[in-house]
Subunit: 110 residues, 4 copies
């Protein structure tokens, strides 16, 4: 995307990638498999992760100075989501997307 | 909305009200009037306010414990947006919606 | 919200109400109850309904002439969601919010 | 993203790319340059394009059969947005992202 520096562009990309992976995993894997995958706490965390990634990307694209706060929150939720997906298992792509996004957002928030 | 306690229901309503008022004001008043109303800083703040209100409402509806963080950030941005709309003038409905939303979100964040 | 005529204001309100009721029902009732409530088709329809309501409201607030198309699609999805919630049962508030929103969007799309 | 076929994955990517380019261009170019770039009709079209791209991507990720309708609408709005950005000038990256997204969405809607 134009008008953003390279570091921020890359963070937007990680956020939108994590949003895509988490949402498609929740809807097309967790709902199909059932059991632990649709427990209230886990599924809510995945939906919260999707929404926060979408929002963090939006704030960077807006050019709002508040992007540092939304990136900090995004890093926290993504880390929690990665841990929970690891605990449940079967969602390695999601774990990796969350960890990469968390790392990128942590740098933007600093 | 069902399954939320009364205080949270009321905060969701304030967030969605503030989102509606800010977005319709930015798009149908600021863009029509021009001048100070479309200065980068002011307009970006209004768009950031819309997005944060939408997100804070979403987290409460999800039932995510992270709603306290998104409500805290929402309170901050709404207060800033109210101040800036007051400075520019002509946007009393927006000022009031932002102040009410900020107050409600501050209580949810506590 | 200011700058919208009364009929459109009321449709925005119905959309945001339906979004709120569907999302809180899906996350705080369907996920808790499980069984038929988290079947892929039903849960996906509820999530699609939430997103379409949010988007239809957004287009009206933007003042975009394309709101007629997003309202038409919203009316269709809300009707489908109301029918499916009725079939499964236990979600009367959701059924009613969807039917009211569908009716309001249908008029805006005409 | 996992669980989507290759053609749909690629359409999600085009939608999120177009969303990113349009939003960053509107907020960081149009608002800075002013004049024709912040005329109500043009700016509203850019905001509508952002929202529709976000929504079309969301429906594909949800795995909802209604994605065909949201993709059809997305193709229409992107084409209009590309034409308008071309008319005003200075936004070649936006024109290209819109055309690519429109083409990809048109195929998904078929």
């Amino acid at each position: 995307m134009p008008y953003l520096n390279e570091r921020m562009q890359s963070c937007v990309d990680e956020c939108l990638r994590c949003y895509s992976v988490c949402l498609s995993t929740a809807m097309n894997h967790c709902l199909e498999v059932g059991g632990k995958h649709v427990e209230k706490n886990h599924f809510t965390l995945m939906m919260a992760c999707c929404e926060m990634c979408r929002t963090a990307a939006h704030f960077m694209l807006l050019g709002s100075p508040h992007h540092r706060h939304t990136c900090r929150e995004c890093a926290e939720i993504c880390t929690e989501c990665a841990d929970d997906c690891e605990r449940i298992g079967d969602m390695q792509e999601c774990v990796e997307a969350c960890r990469r996004c968390a790392e990128s957002c942590r740098q933007m928030a600093a």
